[in-house]
Symmetry: C3
Subunit: 162 residues, 3 copies
Amino acid sequence: MTDERKVQEVLARYVRATDARDGKAQGALFTDDAVVQIHTRTNAGGYDPFGEPLIGGAAVQYAVENFMEPHPEGGFSHHVTSDHVIEVDGDRAHLNAQFIVFRVRARRRPQTGWPQGAFGAQGSVEPYESGYYDTDLHRVDGEWRIVRHDVLLDMPMAVPGV
Amino acid sequence: MTDERKVQEVLARYVRATDARDGKAQGALFTDDAVVQIHTRTNAGGYDPFGEPLIGGAAVQYAVENFMEPHPEGGFSHHVTSDHVIEVDGDRAHLNAQFIVFRVRARRRPQTGWPQGAFGAQGSVEPYESGYYDTDLHRVDGEWRIVRHDVLLDMPMAVPGV
Amino acid sequence: MTDERKVQEVLARYVRATDARDGKAQGALFTDDAVVQIHTRTNAGGYDPFGEPLIGGAAVQYAVENFMEPHPEGGFSHHVTSDHVIEVDGDRAHLNAQFIVFRVRARRRPQTGWPQGAFGAQGSVEPYESGYYDTDLHRVDGEWRIVRHDVLLDMPMAVPGV
Protein backbone atom coordinates (compact mmCIF):
# COMPACT_ATOMS: atom_id res chain seq x y z
CA MET A 1 0.00 0.00 0.00
CA THR A 2 1.34 3.46 -0.85
CA ASP A 3 2.14 5.83 2.00
CA GLU A 4 -0.40 8.31 0.65
CA ARG A 5 -3.14 5.69 0.97
CA LYS A 6 -1.97 4.71 4.45
CA VAL A 7 -2.19 8.34 5.50
CA GLN A 8 -5.64 8.71 3.95
CA GLU A 9 -6.82 5.57 5.75
CA VAL A 10 -5.82 7.08 9.10
CA LEU A 11 -8.47 9.71 8.38
CA ALA A 12 -10.92 7.00 7.25
CA ARG A 13 -10.47 5.29 10.63
CA TYR A 14 -10.76 8.64 12.41
CA VAL A 15 -14.19 9.34 10.95
CA ARG A 16 -15.41 5.81 11.71
CA ALA A 17 -14.27 6.17 15.34
CA THR A 18 -15.93 9.59 15.59
CA ASP A 19 -19.23 8.35 14.17
CA ALA A 20 -19.15 5.29 16.41
CA ARG A 21 -18.20 7.47 19.42
CA ASP A 22 -15.33 5.04 19.95
CA GLY A 23 -12.93 7.08 22.02
CA LYS A 24 -10.36 4.31 22.37
CA ALA A 25 -10.08 3.76 18.60
CA GLN A 26 -9.99 7.52 18.08
CA GLY A 27 -7.30 8.17 20.66
CA ALA A 28 -5.09 5.39 19.28
CA LEU A 29 -4.66 7.36 16.05
CA PHE A 30 -2.79 10.17 17.85
CA THR A 31 0.66 10.36 19.43
CA ASP A 32 0.97 11.15 23.13
CA ASP A 33 1.97 14.73 22.40
CA ALA A 34 -0.36 15.38 19.45
CA VAL A 35 -1.96 18.82 19.41
CA VAL A 36 -5.62 19.00 18.40
CA GLN A 37 -7.27 22.37 17.95
CA ILE A 38 -10.71 23.37 16.71
CA HIS A 39 -11.01 26.64 14.81
CA THR A 40 -13.98 28.58 13.48
CA ARG A 41 -14.03 30.67 10.34
CA THR A 42 -14.04 34.43 10.65
CA ASN A 43 -16.00 36.69 8.33
CA ALA A 44 -12.69 37.78 6.81
CA GLY A 45 -11.99 34.19 5.76
CA GLY A 46 -9.37 33.43 8.41
CA TYR A 47 -9.80 31.25 11.47
CA ASP A 48 -9.98 31.83 15.23
CA PRO A 49 -9.11 29.06 17.69
CA PHE A 50 -12.18 27.71 19.48
CA GLY A 51 -11.50 26.52 23.01
CA GLU A 52 -8.27 25.05 24.27
CA PRO A 53 -6.17 22.47 22.40
CA LEU A 54 -6.31 18.81 23.36
CA ILE A 55 -2.88 17.29 23.94
CA GLY A 56 -2.33 13.61 23.16
CA GLY A 57 -4.38 10.55 22.31
CA ALA A 58 -5.59 10.04 25.87
CA ALA A 59 -7.15 13.51 25.89
CA VAL A 60 -8.78 12.80 22.52
CA GLN A 61 -10.22 9.57 23.92
CA TYR A 62 -11.51 11.40 27.01
CA ALA A 63 -13.10 14.11 24.88
CA VAL A 64 -14.89 11.61 22.62
CA GLU A 65 -16.16 9.67 25.63
CA ASN A 66 -17.25 12.64 27.69
CA PHE A 67 -17.93 15.64 25.49
CA MET A 68 -19.35 14.29 22.23
CA GLU A 69 -23.13 14.18 22.20
CA PRO A 70 -24.27 10.53 22.12
CA HIS A 71 -26.49 9.49 19.24
CA PRO A 72 -30.15 9.33 20.21
CA GLU A 73 -32.06 6.08 19.55
CA GLY A 74 -32.12 5.56 15.79
CA GLY A 75 -29.54 8.29 15.35
CA PHE A 76 -26.20 8.09 13.61
CA SER A 77 -23.73 10.32 11.78
CA HIS A 78 -21.28 10.23 8.89
CA HIS A 79 -18.22 12.43 8.76
CA VAL A 80 -17.50 12.35 5.03
CA THR A 81 -14.04 13.43 3.88
CA SER A 82 -13.06 14.24 0.31
CA ASP A 83 -10.55 15.78 -2.06
CA HIS A 84 -7.51 14.88 -0.01
CA VAL A 85 -4.19 16.57 -0.71
CA ILE A 86 -1.40 14.49 0.81
CA GLU A 87 2.34 15.09 0.86
CA VAL A 88 4.65 12.40 2.23
CA ASP A 89 8.28 13.20 3.00
CA GLY A 90 10.02 10.18 4.52
CA ASP A 91 8.42 9.57 7.91
CA ARG A 92 6.42 12.79 7.88
CA ALA A 93 3.20 13.55 6.09
CA HIS A 94 0.75 16.39 5.65
CA LEU A 95 -2.91 15.88 4.87
CA ASN A 96 -5.61 18.37 3.96
CA ALA A 97 -9.18 17.24 3.35
CA GLN A 98 -12.66 18.66 3.09
CA PHE A 99 -15.34 17.29 5.38
CA ILE A 100 -19.12 17.39 5.56
CA VAL A 101 -20.94 15.90 8.55
CA PHE A 102 -24.34 14.28 8.04
CA ARG A 103 -26.89 13.64 10.78
CA VAL A 104 -28.98 10.50 10.33
CA ARG A 105 -32.28 10.09 12.13
CA ALA A 106 -34.17 6.86 11.58
CA ARG A 107 -37.94 6.87 11.87
CA ARG A 108 -39.29 4.28 14.27
CA ARG A 109 -41.61 1.74 12.66
CA PRO A 110 -45.14 2.31 13.92
CA GLN A 111 -46.62 -0.64 15.84
CA THR A 112 -49.31 -0.81 13.15
CA GLY A 113 -46.68 -1.07 10.38
CA TRP A 114 -45.43 1.51 7.90
CA PRO A 115 -48.18 3.80 6.66
CA GLN A 116 -49.77 3.43 3.23
CA GLY A 117 -47.45 5.03 0.65
CA ALA A 118 -44.29 4.77 2.71
CA PHE A 119 -41.47 3.54 0.46
CA GLY A 120 -37.74 3.07 0.88
CA ALA A 121 -35.55 4.47 3.62
CA GLN A 122 -37.53 5.83 6.58
CA GLY A 123 -35.87 8.79 8.24
CA SER A 124 -33.68 11.73 7.34
CA VAL A 125 -30.08 12.39 6.34
CA GLU A 126 -28.95 15.99 6.54
CA PRO A 127 -25.65 17.83 6.39
CA TYR A 128 -25.08 20.17 9.34
CA GLU A 129 -21.35 20.84 9.67
CA SER A 130 -18.45 21.31 7.27
CA GLY A 131 -14.91 22.48 6.92
CA TYR A 132 -11.37 21.24 6.42
CA TYR A 133 -9.11 18.92 8.33
CA ASP A 134 -5.47 19.98 8.23
CA THR A 135 -3.24 17.36 9.75
CA ASP A 136 0.39 16.36 10.23
CA LEU A 137 1.39 12.75 10.76
CA HIS A 138 4.59 10.96 11.70
CA ARG A 139 5.49 7.35 11.07
CA VAL A 140 6.15 5.81 14.49
CA ASP A 141 7.24 2.15 14.64
CA GLY A 142 5.89 1.65 11.13
CA GLU A 143 2.46 3.18 11.83
CA TRP A 144 1.28 6.60 10.70
CA ARG A 145 -0.04 8.58 13.66
CA ILE A 146 -1.41 12.09 13.98
CA VAL A 147 0.86 14.69 15.63
CA ARG A 148 -1.15 17.82 14.78
CA HIS A 149 -4.82 18.02 13.85
CA ASP A 150 -6.57 21.27 13.09
CA VAL A 151 -10.32 21.14 12.59
CA LEU A 152 -11.26 24.20 10.54
CA LEU A 153 -15.01 24.70 10.89
CA ASP A 154 -16.89 26.87 8.40
CA MET A 155 -19.42 27.99 10.96
CA PRO A 156 -19.37 29.38 14.49
CA MET A 157 -20.08 27.06 17.43
CA ALA A 158 -22.62 28.02 20.03
CA VAL A 159 -21.61 27.82 23.64
CA PRO A 160 -24.76 28.17 25.74
CA GLY A 161 -24.85 31.48 27.58
CA VAL A 162 -21.70 32.89 25.97
CA MET B 1 -2.45 1.13 -11.04
CA THR B 2 -2.27 -0.17 -7.47
CA ASP B 3 -4.57 -2.98 -6.45
CA GLU B 4 -6.16 -0.77 -3.81
CA ARG B 5 -7.16 1.72 -6.50
CA LYS B 6 -8.45 -1.04 -8.78
CA VAL B 7 -10.62 -2.28 -5.93
CA GLN B 8 -11.87 1.23 -5.18
CA GLU B 9 -12.73 1.75 -8.85
CA VAL B 10 -14.93 -1.35 -8.80
CA LEU B 11 -17.05 0.54 -6.30
CA ALA B 12 -16.87 3.68 -8.44
CA ARG B 13 -18.27 1.70 -11.37
CA TYR B 14 -20.87 0.13 -9.10
CA VAL B 15 -22.31 3.51 -8.09
CA ARG B 16 -22.33 4.76 -11.69
CA ALA B 17 -24.22 1.63 -12.79
CA THR B 18 -26.68 2.02 -9.90
CA ASP B 19 -27.34 5.68 -10.66
CA ALA B 20 -27.73 4.95 -14.38
CA ARG B 21 -29.98 1.94 -13.55
CA ASP B 22 -27.64 -0.05 -15.81
CA GLY B 23 -28.28 -3.60 -14.67
CA LYS B 24 -25.90 -5.17 -17.13
CA ALA B 25 -22.94 -3.02 -16.05
CA GLN B 26 -23.87 -3.61 -12.42
CA GLY B 27 -24.17 -7.37 -12.73
CA ALA B 28 -20.83 -7.65 -14.52
CA LEU B 29 -19.05 -6.48 -11.35
CA PHE B 30 -20.13 -9.59 -9.44
CA THR B 31 -19.09 -13.24 -9.69
CA ASP B 32 -21.71 -15.87 -10.50
CA ASP B 33 -21.87 -16.98 -6.87
CA ALA B 34 -21.56 -13.57 -5.22
CA VAL B 35 -23.79 -13.06 -2.18
CA VAL B 36 -25.47 -9.67 -1.85
CA GLN B 37 -27.43 -8.85 1.28
CA ILE B 38 -29.10 -5.67 2.48
CA HIS B 39 -29.19 -5.01 6.21
CA THR B 40 -30.84 -2.34 8.32
CA ARG B 41 -29.48 -0.90 11.51
CA THR B 42 -31.07 -1.88 14.80
CA ASN B 43 -31.54 0.53 17.68
CA ALA B 44 -28.80 -1.37 19.52
CA GLY B 45 -26.32 -0.49 16.75
CA GLY B 46 -26.21 -3.93 15.13
CA TYR B 47 -27.79 -4.94 11.84
CA ASP B 48 -30.69 -7.19 10.81
CA PRO B 49 -30.84 -8.73 7.32
CA PHE B 50 -33.51 -7.14 5.16
CA GLY B 51 -35.09 -9.51 2.65
CA GLU B 52 -33.36 -12.46 1.03
CA PRO B 53 -29.83 -12.38 -0.40
CA LEU B 54 -29.25 -12.05 -4.14
CA ILE B 55 -26.93 -14.72 -5.52
CA GLY B 56 -24.71 -13.89 -8.50
CA GLY B 57 -24.31 -11.12 -11.06
CA ALA B 58 -27.35 -12.21 -13.09
CA ALA B 59 -29.60 -11.77 -10.04
CA VAL B 60 -28.07 -8.34 -9.40
CA GLN B 61 -28.77 -7.37 -13.01
CA TYR B 62 -32.36 -8.62 -12.72
CA ALA B 63 -32.89 -6.70 -9.48
CA VAL B 64 -31.57 -3.42 -10.93
CA GLU B 65 -33.73 -3.83 -14.03
CA ASN B 66 -36.90 -4.87 -12.26
CA PHE B 67 -36.91 -3.67 -8.65
CA MET B 68 -35.07 -0.33 -8.65
CA GLU B 69 -37.39 2.63 -8.95
CA PRO B 70 -36.77 4.34 -12.33
CA HIS B 71 -35.82 8.01 -12.21
CA PRO B 72 -38.74 10.29 -13.02
CA GLU B 73 -38.34 12.85 -15.81
CA GLY B 74 -35.62 15.27 -14.72
CA GLY B 75 -34.66 12.95 -11.89
CA PHE B 76 -31.28 11.45 -11.13
CA SER B 77 -29.28 10.15 -8.18
CA HIS B 78 -25.72 10.01 -6.90
CA HIS B 79 -24.48 7.25 -4.65
CA VAL B 80 -21.44 8.94 -3.11
CA THR B 81 -18.85 6.72 -1.42
CA SER B 82 -16.07 7.93 0.86
CA ASP B 83 -13.41 7.07 3.41
CA HIS B 84 -12.58 3.69 1.94
CA VAL B 85 -10.59 1.19 3.99
CA ILE B 86 -9.13 -1.42 1.66
CA GLU B 87 -7.00 -4.47 2.44
CA VAL B 88 -5.52 -6.48 -0.41
CA ASP B 89 -4.03 -9.92 0.23
CA GLY B 90 -2.89 -11.52 -3.01
CA ASP B 91 -5.99 -12.17 -5.09
CA ARG B 92 -8.41 -11.31 -2.30
CA ALA B 93 -9.48 -7.91 -1.08
CA HIS B 94 -11.76 -6.39 1.53
CA LEU B 95 -13.36 -2.99 1.14
CA ASN B 96 -15.34 -0.90 3.58
CA ALA B 97 -16.78 2.47 2.58
CA GLN B 98 -19.32 5.00 3.73
CA PHE B 99 -22.08 5.99 1.36
CA ILE B 100 -24.63 8.79 1.12
CA VAL B 101 -27.30 8.72 -1.59
CA PHE B 102 -28.52 12.00 -3.08
CA ARG B 103 -31.78 12.47 -4.96
CA VAL B 104 -31.66 15.04 -7.76
CA ARG B 105 -34.83 16.59 -9.10
CA ALA B 106 -34.48 19.09 -11.94
CA ARG B 107 -37.05 21.83 -12.29
CA ARG B 108 -38.66 22.00 -15.71
CA ARG B 109 -38.09 25.30 -17.49
CA PRO B 110 -41.40 27.17 -17.73
CA GLN B 111 -42.59 27.81 -21.29
CA THR B 112 -42.36 31.51 -20.51
CA GLY B 113 -38.71 31.18 -19.45
CA TRP B 114 -37.14 31.15 -15.98
CA PRO B 115 -38.85 33.52 -13.59
CA GLN B 116 -37.35 36.86 -12.60
CA GLY B 117 -34.72 36.26 -9.92
CA ALA B 118 -34.03 32.64 -10.80
CA PHE B 119 -30.26 32.10 -10.81
CA GLY B 120 -28.04 29.07 -11.15
CA ALA B 121 -29.03 25.42 -10.87
CA GLN B 122 -32.80 24.89 -11.00
CA GLY B 123 -33.96 21.97 -8.91
CA SER B 124 -33.03 20.17 -5.72
CA VAL B 125 -30.31 17.86 -4.48
CA GLU B 126 -31.04 16.09 -1.21
CA PRO B 127 -29.51 13.23 0.74
CA TYR B 128 -31.99 10.53 1.68
CA GLU B 129 -30.11 7.31 2.39
CA SER B 130 -26.80 6.39 4.01
CA GLY B 131 -24.73 3.61 5.45
CA TYR B 132 -21.71 1.46 4.78
CA TYR B 133 -20.75 -0.93 2.02
CA ASP B 134 -18.76 -3.91 3.28
CA THR B 135 -17.45 -5.96 0.42
CA ASP B 136 -15.11 -8.85 -0.44
CA LEU B 137 -13.55 -9.14 -3.88
CA HIS B 138 -11.52 -11.79 -5.66
CA ARG B 139 -9.21 -11.32 -8.61
CA VAL B 140 -10.59 -13.54 -11.38
CA ASP B 141 -8.69 -13.67 -14.70
CA GLY B 142 -6.96 -10.42 -13.80
CA GLU B 143 -10.16 -8.52 -12.91
CA TRP B 144 -11.36 -7.68 -9.42
CA ARG B 145 -14.94 -8.86 -8.94
CA ILE B 146 -17.29 -8.76 -5.99
CA VAL B 147 -17.92 -12.06 -4.18
CA ARG B 148 -19.74 -10.68 -1.11
CA HIS B 149 -21.50 -7.35 -0.78
CA ASP B 150 -23.26 -6.24 2.36
CA VAL B 151 -25.24 -3.02 2.19
CA LEU B 152 -25.53 -1.74 5.76
CA LEU B 153 -28.32 0.83 5.79
CA ASP B 154 -28.58 3.31 8.68
CA MET B 155 -32.35 3.49 8.47
CA PRO B 156 -35.24 1.03 8.26
CA MET B 157 -36.86 0.32 4.89
CA ALA B 158 -40.61 0.52 4.52
CA VAL B 159 -42.37 -2.39 2.91
CA PRO B 160 -45.92 -1.24 2.14
CA GLY B 161 -48.43 -2.99 4.36
CA VAL B 162 -45.89 -4.82 6.53
CA MET C 1 3.14 9.38 -5.60
CA THR C 2 1.28 7.37 -8.24
CA ASP C 3 0.14 9.15 -11.37
CA GLU C 4 -3.48 8.32 -10.57
CA ARG C 5 -3.17 10.16 -7.27
CA LYS C 6 -1.41 13.11 -8.91
CA VAL C 7 -4.30 13.36 -11.36
CA GLN C 8 -6.87 13.11 -8.58
CA GLU C 9 -5.07 15.85 -6.65
CA VAL C 10 -5.38 18.20 -9.62
CA LEU C 11 -9.13 17.93 -9.09
CA ALA C 12 -8.68 18.38 -5.33
CA ARG C 13 -6.84 21.65 -6.02
CA TYR C 14 -9.48 22.63 -8.56
CA VAL C 15 -12.29 22.41 -6.00
CA ARG C 16 -10.28 24.31 -3.39
CA ALA C 17 -9.60 27.10 -5.89
CA THR C 18 -13.27 27.19 -6.90
CA ASP C 19 -14.50 27.36 -3.31
CA ALA C 20 -11.93 30.05 -2.45
CA ARG C 21 -12.83 31.94 -5.67
CA ASP C 22 -9.08 31.92 -6.39
CA GLY C 23 -8.99 32.50 -10.13
CA LYS C 24 -5.22 32.47 -10.38
CA ALA C 25 -4.88 29.08 -8.67
CA GLN C 26 -7.75 27.75 -10.77
CA GLY C 27 -6.37 28.98 -14.07
CA ALA C 28 -2.92 27.53 -13.35
CA LEU C 29 -4.39 24.02 -13.49
CA PHE C 30 -5.26 24.38 -17.18
CA THR C 31 -3.11 24.51 -20.31
CA ASP C 32 -3.28 27.57 -22.54
CA ASP C 33 -5.47 25.79 -25.06
CA ALA C 34 -7.63 23.82 -22.63
CA VAL C 35 -11.31 23.61 -23.58
CA VAL C 36 -13.81 23.98 -20.75
CA GLN C 37 -17.49 23.44 -21.45
CA ILE C 38 -20.52 23.33 -19.17
CA HIS C 39 -23.36 21.00 -20.13
CA THR C 40 -26.82 20.46 -18.70
CA ARG C 41 -28.67 17.17 -18.63
CA THR C 42 -31.57 16.65 -20.99
CA ASN C 43 -34.70 14.76 -20.03
CA ALA C 44 -33.55 11.96 -22.34
CA GLY C 45 -30.41 11.52 -20.21
CA GLY C 46 -28.00 13.15 -22.67
CA TYR C 47 -26.37 16.55 -22.33
CA ASP C 48 -26.68 19.90 -24.11
CA PRO C 49 -23.82 22.42 -24.08
CA PHE C 50 -24.61 25.45 -21.90
CA GLY C 51 -23.02 28.66 -23.10
CA GLU C 52 -19.77 28.96 -25.00
CA PRO C 53 -16.58 27.06 -24.11
CA LEU C 54 -13.78 28.77 -22.24
CA ILE C 55 -10.39 28.40 -23.91
CA GLY C 56 -7.25 28.27 -21.76
CA GLY C 57 -6.24 28.90 -18.18
CA ALA C 58 -6.39 32.70 -18.52
CA ALA C 59 -10.05 32.51 -19.54
CA VAL C 60 -10.76 30.22 -16.59
CA GLN C 61 -9.08 32.70 -14.27
CA TYR C 62 -11.11 35.56 -15.75
CA ALA C 63 -14.34 33.62 -15.39
CA VAL C 64 -13.70 32.76 -11.73
CA GLU C 65 -12.78 36.37 -10.95
CA ASN C 66 -15.64 37.98 -12.86
CA PHE C 67 -18.54 35.58 -13.26
CA MET C 68 -18.60 33.45 -10.11
CA GLU C 69 -20.91 34.78 -7.45
CA PRO C 70 -18.83 35.93 -4.46
CA HIS C 71 -19.63 34.32 -1.12
CA PRO C 72 -21.74 36.57 1.09
CA GLU C 73 -20.50 37.38 4.60
CA GLY C 74 -20.40 34.11 6.52
CA GLY C 75 -20.88 32.16 3.31
CA PHE C 76 -18.74 29.43 1.85
CA SER C 77 -19.03 26.40 -0.41
CA HIS C 78 -17.60 22.91 -0.84
CA HIS C 79 -17.36 21.22 -4.20
CA VAL C 80 -17.10 17.59 -3.09
CA THR C 81 -15.82 15.05 -5.63
CA SER C 82 -16.07 11.29 -5.29
CA ASP C 83 -15.83 7.89 -6.95
CA HIS C 84 -13.06 8.86 -9.35
CA VAL C 85 -12.33 6.66 -12.34
CA ILE C 86 -8.85 7.48 -13.63
CA GLU C 87 -6.94 6.03 -16.58
CA VAL C 88 -3.33 7.03 -17.13
CA ASP C 89 -1.60 6.24 -20.42
CA GLY C 90 1.93 7.64 -20.43
CA ASP C 91 1.62 11.43 -20.38
CA ARG C 92 -2.13 11.43 -20.92
CA ALA C 93 -4.87 10.80 -18.41
CA HIS C 94 -8.65 10.67 -18.27
CA LEU C 95 -10.62 11.40 -15.12
CA ASN C 96 -14.30 11.01 -14.38
CA ALA C 97 -15.73 12.00 -11.00
CA GLN C 98 -19.04 12.71 -9.37
CA PHE C 99 -19.52 16.04 -7.66
CA ILE C 100 -21.98 17.55 -5.20
CA VAL C 101 -21.78 21.25 -4.32
CA PHE C 102 -22.71 22.36 -0.80
CA ARG C 103 -23.65 25.91 0.18
CA VAL C 104 -22.59 26.95 3.68
CA ARG C 105 -24.23 29.85 5.44
CA ALA C 106 -22.98 30.74 8.90
CA ARG C 107 -25.36 32.36 11.35
CA ARG C 108 -24.08 35.58 12.83
CA ARG C 109 -23.71 35.51 16.59
CA PRO C 110 -26.29 37.79 18.16
CA GLN C 111 -24.84 40.71 20.11
CA THR C 112 -26.55 39.28 23.17
CA GLY C 113 -24.88 35.90 22.68
CA TRP C 114 -26.23 32.63 21.34
CA PRO C 115 -29.82 32.00 22.37
CA GLN C 116 -30.75 29.52 25.08
CA GLY C 117 -30.71 26.00 23.63
CA ALA C 118 -28.36 26.79 20.76
CA PHE C 119 -25.79 23.99 20.51
CA GLY C 120 -23.04 23.14 18.05
CA ALA C 121 -22.54 24.53 14.58
CA GLN C 122 -24.64 27.63 13.89
CA GLY C 123 -25.77 27.90 10.29
CA SER C 124 -26.72 25.66 7.41
CA VAL C 125 -25.00 23.31 4.96
CA GLU C 126 -27.05 22.30 1.97
CA PRO C 127 -26.39 20.58 -1.35
CA TYR C 128 -27.64 22.52 -4.35
CA GLU C 129 -25.77 21.35 -7.45
CA SER C 130 -24.48 18.03 -8.73
CA GLY C 131 -23.15 16.15 -11.71
CA TYR C 132 -20.00 14.69 -13.18
CA TYR C 133 -16.64 16.13 -14.13
CA ASP C 134 -15.18 14.49 -17.21
CA THR C 135 -11.63 15.62 -17.81
CA ASP C 136 -8.53 14.96 -19.90
CA LEU C 137 -5.08 15.86 -18.64
CA HIS C 138 -1.61 15.95 -20.16
CA ARG C 139 1.69 15.83 -18.35
CA VAL C 140 3.52 19.03 -19.30
CA ASP C 141 7.05 19.57 -17.92
CA GLY C 142 6.34 16.99 -15.22
CA GLU C 143 3.04 18.53 -14.09
CA TRP C 144 -0.42 17.19 -14.87
CA ARG C 145 -2.58 19.93 -16.37
CA ILE C 146 -6.13 19.95 -17.67
CA VAL C 147 -6.58 20.07 -21.46
CA ARG C 148 -10.33 19.33 -21.60
CA HIS C 149 -12.87 19.77 -18.82
CA ASP C 150 -16.53 19.01 -19.25
CA VAL C 151 -18.83 19.95 -16.39
CA LEU C 152 -21.92 17.77 -16.74
CA LEU C 153 -24.65 19.33 -14.61
CA ASP C 154 -27.68 17.27 -13.57
CA MET C 155 -29.98 20.28 -13.59
CA PRO C 156 -30.77 23.16 -15.91
CA MET C 157 -29.23 26.57 -15.26
CA ALA C 158 -31.41 29.66 -15.18
CA VAL C 159 -30.38 32.61 -17.25
CA PRO C 160 -32.48 35.55 -16.17
CA GLY C 161 -34.97 36.56 -18.84
CA VAL C 162 -34.17 33.65 -21.19
